[in-house]
Every structure is written in structure tokens, then in C-alpha cells.
């Protein structure tokens, strides 16, 4: 699996794109963060715990977590149709599932926690960057959490396994596999795959993505410490 080659953008096979994270970027939100991985940029805003509307969604013993993922029309080189799409509904749902295991929701019964993720610039791995930003924003909002989940993708380009797919690798590569990883428990909270591979190779790719996620985890923690 180890190989010495340079990728289209000059990275090594197991190298992440440059990470930039900052916390508290929105004034009106209870918690917010921006996360950037190379050319992919996402901003997350957290509101709540607040009253639940519509009221029938309220749960008597815990808070509900609502996530909304959206990609700006100007995020890609070709203008995207603004608004909710089949894709954004799916990503909102998987993001919620990825975040649920780390939240203590029973601390705030009868409330809602709203997480809004806006992708401002897209260059692959937008759902991963969205999850990373959302985690930081949730912590910034002062919500009780067990830990962070960190998310990162890996895949296969021209028969070679690589970490953190970007640019042409995404559009022309064979496989893209985003993973959200809960480092403390070594658990996976998001796993999707676009492409075809063997079971053995998929395991290799997942392990590689988890390794990348651990680096992102460290970057998340460092970003949060700088703000306070």
C-alpha cells in the first residue's frame, strides 16, 4: 500500500490539505465555527437549546438535534441551483447521525438544538468539513459533549489509495469514502462510499481516513483552545 508518488496537487498519498479552523465567527449564533480544508470551506452556526417549533416535534425527556446542510449557489465552478435538494437532505441526515453519539441531549429536555452548515466553497469532502465545523460550533455554544468527532475522506485514484481527495481526484477518481471518526472510542459515526472496491481494500481506505481524522481532531482542539 505504501508508495512514493506525487498527486496532481503535489501532495503525498497520505497527506491532508492545509487545515484552517476558527471558532466564534458569527455574532448572532449561540455558537459558530469555520472549517477549511484546502479549498473546501464550511461555516456552521448553532442555535439553542431553544423552544421547539413546531411543538409536536418536542420530546419530553431530551433535546432534539436538527441539522441543515446547504451548499451556496456560488460554491462550485458551475452555478448550483439554490435551496434544498435531494443531496442536501441526505447530507443533513447523515451529519445528524454522525453528531448524535457525542451529544448529551437529556440535559435539556423539551428543547431543540439547531445546527446550520453552509458550504461557501466546495472542492470535495464538503460533508466532512461540515461535520468538523459543526462540532466546533456545538462546543462553542456551550453544549455538553462527550468529545469531538472528526471527519475526513479517503479514496482511490488510478488504482492508488489516497487520503483526502480533492479537485480532479474527486471528479475523475474511482472511489470516494467519507468517514466520521470518534477518536476516543475508535468508533465510526459516518461511513459512505461512492465507487466499487473489494472488502479488503475498503478496510484499508477506512483505516487511512481514520488516520487523517485523528490529525483533524488535533486541529479542532487547537482551534477551540485559541479562542478561549
Amino acid at each position: 500500500m505504501t508508495s512514493d508518488f506525487t498527486r496532481i496537487d503535489g501532495r503525498k498519498w497520505d497527506e491532508l490539505r492545509p487545515i484552517f479552523a476558527s471558532v466564534g465567527v458569527l455574532n448572532k449564533a449561540d455558537g459558530s465555527a469555520m472549517f477549511r480544508l484546502g479549498n473546501t470551506v464550511a461555516v456552521a452556526g448553532v442555535y439553542g437549546p431553544r423552544k421547539v417549533y413546531p411543538k409536536h416535534e418536542e420530546e419530553a425527556e431530551r433535546a432534539i438535534l436538527r441539522t441543515k446542510y446547504n451548499m451556496a449557489a456560488f460554491a462550485t465552478s458551475e452555478r448550483g441551483r439554490p435551496g434544498t435538494s435531494r443531496r442536501s437532505i441526505e447530507i443533513s441526515m447523515v451529519t445528524r447521525n454522525a453528531l448524535m453519539p457525542i451529544m448529551f441531549l437529556d440535559e435539556f429536555p423539551r428543547t431543540a438544538i439547531d445546527v446550520h452548515i453552509e458550504v461557501l466553497q466546495a472542492d470535495a469532502s464538503t460533508r466532512c468539513v461540515g461535520i468538523n465545523a459543526a462540532c466546533l460550533a456545538l462546543a462553542d455554544a456551550g453544549l455538553p459533549m462527550k468529545d469531538f468527532v472528526a471527519s475526513c475522506s479517503a479514496g482511490k485514484v488510478g488504482d492508488k489509495v489516497v487520503l483526502d481527495i480533492a479537485g480532479k481526484e474527486d471528479t475523475e477518481g474511482e472511489l470516494d469514502l467519507p468517514v466520521a471518526y470518534y477518536p476516543k472510542k475508535k468508533q465510526i459515526t459516518l461511513l459512505q462510499m461512492d465507487g466499487i472496491t473489494t472488502g479488503k481494500e475498503a478496510r484499508e481506505i477506512i483505516a487511512l481516513a481514520a488516520k487523517g481524522a485523528e490529525k483533524i481532531y488535533e486541529a479542532q482542539k487547537a482551534a477551540l483552545r485559541t479562542k478561549y
Partner: protein
């Protein structure tokens, strides 16, 4: 002061028991907030640095009357949970509900300083006006601060807020829920001091710094003219 360390969610606090803001897993204690960690006799707890107000029994809070119903008032206490002030907790007088309009006591939009008398598991909050410090807040100005910073505004045994009151000759009421009510001729100065404390809450020796700032501003404002006196209600 005990040793306080800045922690973020997931940071290990050591072994022992988990208090507020911490959780236990496999015999070890971890933080669940961004906050300051403290330890007392094996009990680890974290004071959060941000977040909304979570009602707690015994807290003195500032509330705004949202609704008046048959025998109680519904009060907004700057929290996701609304609070209820029953008539029996508001006054000792006998009131004939069939003849009395409750807005005579508190009406829509009134501000009150009140105490939380109980909070149930599902966060039904009940208020009481029985304590001597509880009262209606007439006129004045209201500002909002992060509830986590309230202890800093009050200071050790009220030292900070007493100092501001003393220098600016204003009345100040601080609610645990992050609402601060100010009334007097130098409202703006007092508000400036409070927002300054919120912004610089992590600095040590803040009381002296704020005191110097206020004294200078008061001197600039009045010079040798007599300063206004505090007007008690």
C-alpha cells in the same frame, strides 16, 4: 483560589467522581464543556464559559411577564424554559379571583426580580416572590450578558457590583440568568463597566481596573461639581 485549568470537551480530568460539567467513562472523568476545571476531594467539575441559562433552584433571576392567566403569571427568564409565578407565591393578601384583575399586580412586560423555588426533571420552573430581595423593577435599563459570566460581574461576596453601584451611584440588580438591570443618572457608565467585565472576565485583578476606569470617567463627567446622589425607592 484553587487551581483552574482551561478544558474542552473530551479532556481527561483524572480519576475520581464526575460532578457538574463532567462525565465518567471506564473509571476516568472527562470534561463535557469548554470551561474551567476544578477538583474538590476527588470530585471533578467544570464551570462552562459559554451557554444558555439552565434554571436552578434558589437562583435569583430577572424575568419579564409574558402572560397573565387565571391564577398565575407566565414569566420569560431568558432561558428555553418559561417560568410560572403562581398567585400564592406572589402575595400574602387574600385575593378574590372572581373580582380581581391580576394585571393590577404584574402586567404584560413588567420586569421582576424573583427567585426560582423549584425546577422539575422536565424543567417546569416555578418562581416565588417571598424572599425579601424580590421586587418589581420599575423603569431603568436592561442588558443581557452571557449567564456563565454572571459570577464575575457579582464578584467575590458582591465586591464587583457593590463597587460599581458605589462609584456610579446607580441601582444595579444582577440576575443569575444573565440579565442585568441598571437605574440611575449614570446608567451608561454602569452598563459600560458591566460589558467591560464580560469582555475581560478572564483577567485577574479586574475589580481594580474597572474601579480606576469608572473613577476617571466620573471625574471627567462631573469635575468639581457635586455628583448626584443615589435615589432609593
Amino acid at each position: 483560589m484553587t487551581d483552574r485549568k482551561l478544558v474542552i470537551p473530551g479532556d481527561a480530568l483524572g480519576e475520581g467522581r464526575a460532578g457538574h460539567g463532567a462525565y465518567e467513562e471506564d473509571g476516568k472523568v472527562f470534561s463535557c464543556f469548554i470551561g474551567l476545571a476544578e477538583e474538590k476531594g476527588g470530585l471533578h467539575f467544570v464551570i462552562p464559559l459559554s451557554g444558555i441559562y439552565n434554571p436552578k433552584r434558589g437562583d435569583g433571576v430577572i424575568g419579564k411577564i409574558e402572560d397573565v392567566v387565571f391564577s398565575k403569571w407566565i414569566v420569560d427568564i431568558n432561558s428555553p424554559y418559561e417560568a410560572v409565578l403562581p398567585l400564592s407565591e406572589a402575595t400574602d393578601e387574600f385575593i378574590d379571583l372572581t373580582k380581581t384583575d391580576l394585571t393590577k399586580y404584574f402586567t404584560y412586560g413588567d420586569l421582576i426580580f424573583t427567585e426560582i423555588s423549584s425546577v422539575t426533571k422536565t424543567k417546569n420552573v416555578q418562581l416565588s416572590m417571598r424572599d425579601r430581595k424580590c421586587r418589581k423593577l420599575r423603569s431603568g435599563r436592561l442588558i443581557t450578558v452571557t449567564p456563565a459570566k454572571v459570577p464575575r460581574i457579582i464578584g467575590k461576596a458582591g465586591s464587583m457590583v457593590e463597587m460599581i453601584k458605589d462609584i456610579t451611584k446607580t441601582q444595579i440588580v444582577v440576575g443569575q440568568n444573565g440579565l442585568v438591570w441598571v437605574k440611575g443618572d449614570n446608567e451608561d457608565l454602569a452598563i459600560e463597566a458591566v460589558t467591560e467585565i464580560e469582555r475581560k472576565s478572564h483577567i485577574q485583578g479586574l475589580t481594580d481596573q474597572i474601579k480606576a476606569m469608572l473613577e476617571k470617567k466620573m471625574a471627567d463627567k462631573y469635575g468639581s461639581q457635586p455628583q448626584p446622589q443615589l435615589q432609593e425607592e
